[in-house]
Symmetry: C2
């Protein structure tokens, strides 16, 4: 955050941090404002509602994640290696958060999806887009793999890409519940099976 | 519910229904009581708190589910077929709920895990037990499969069983977010890959 952050940025950061720990419904505007050191009256200058803020939290979070996903999935290496790099990075981000906080935060997007689903239509729309983009990024990599010979063409389909995204979500959720990252040691071996690398 | 249900059962049913749609934090004791047609004063006669009620919701829900899991995973058929029967039944329960409500409820246990995690220690403990038992039931079936020859022994390990449970959770979560069950058509083919049935 630092000195140059605006009140708006601080509200977004605070909401993101709080929702990562306690979800959507448990967090109120007053608490977000207190953490951000912003007066409640100012909140509504920036955001129409908690839902509107959450839409921006999802967008901001995914835009940053998307850059990282794209980076890991792009390069001269065989597509299977790039996919492995993405999975390793996803596990590493959970490990870094765990080292800082002593807890497994899990996936903010997945947590909000589980809690809200069809309860907040605008948030649901953004979450759906984010997971569709994740699937598309993996799908493109699988297609690259079918071309460079590192992935069997029969497994370079959209449904397999979706299965990879779903598998990561499920594995991270169980790690979050367990409060430790041990089960994520197997994440790549299991994703390898889904894309039939061995 | 019906005439013979007690106030306690009605409170459990109502909490289960409401939390399945809107999660934990969004639901208050007053709303649970109103839906159950029970006076708020009576609530605290049966349950110490919303957390205590939720522990029982998780227990009641998983006890019923466990019977169904055990039924699908038990029988004279090869273990791989029993596993397929479990997955088909899990998809069918989502479909039945969708036909009744027009929405994909997802997995109550997974949704609560995503929302609460380490926020409510007693609930977390019960959720952890439920997912451990799911994993154990699948693991036992994989071991059966290694013995009856329907599953390769190298894939009859606890980590693979955990991966199957995680995969189901992730896939059901994305179906819930999408609001339709199309992606679950591929659930069994993808679980087959995790246990290396093809």
């Amino acid at each position: 955050m630092g000195r140059i952050s605006t009140a708006r940025d601080r509200l977004l950061d605070s909401a993101c941090e709080l929702m990562n720990i306690r979800g959507y419904a448990a967090i109120g505007v007053a608490e977000i404002c207190a953490r951000a050191d912003v007066r409640k009256g100012s909140f509504y200058h920036f955001f129409e509602s908690k839902q509107a803020l959450t839409v921006e939290v999802v967008d901001t979070h995914w835009q940053a994640q998307r850059v990282a996903w794209h980076e890991r999935l792009t390069g001269p290496e065989p597509a299977s290696e790039r996919l492995q790099r993405l999975i390793a990075w996803l596990v590493e981000t959970q490990r870094e958060a765990w080292q800082v906080s002593g807890r497994v935060g899990g996936c903010l997007l997945g947590n909000l999806a589980a809690e809200l689903s069809d309860q907040e239509a605008d948030v649901q729309k953004r979450l759906t887009s984010a997971f569709d983009e994740q699937t598309e990024l993996v799908h493109t990599t699988l297609i690259d793999g079918a071309q460079d010979g590192s992935i069997a063409p029969a497994y370079a389909d959209w449904a397999t890409a979706r299965a990879v995204v779903a598998h990561v979500e499920g594995a991270v959720l169980l790690a979050k519940l367990a409060g430790n990252l041990r089960s994520l040691d197997d994440l790549w071996p299991h994703v390898r099976r889904l894309v039939r690398l061995d």
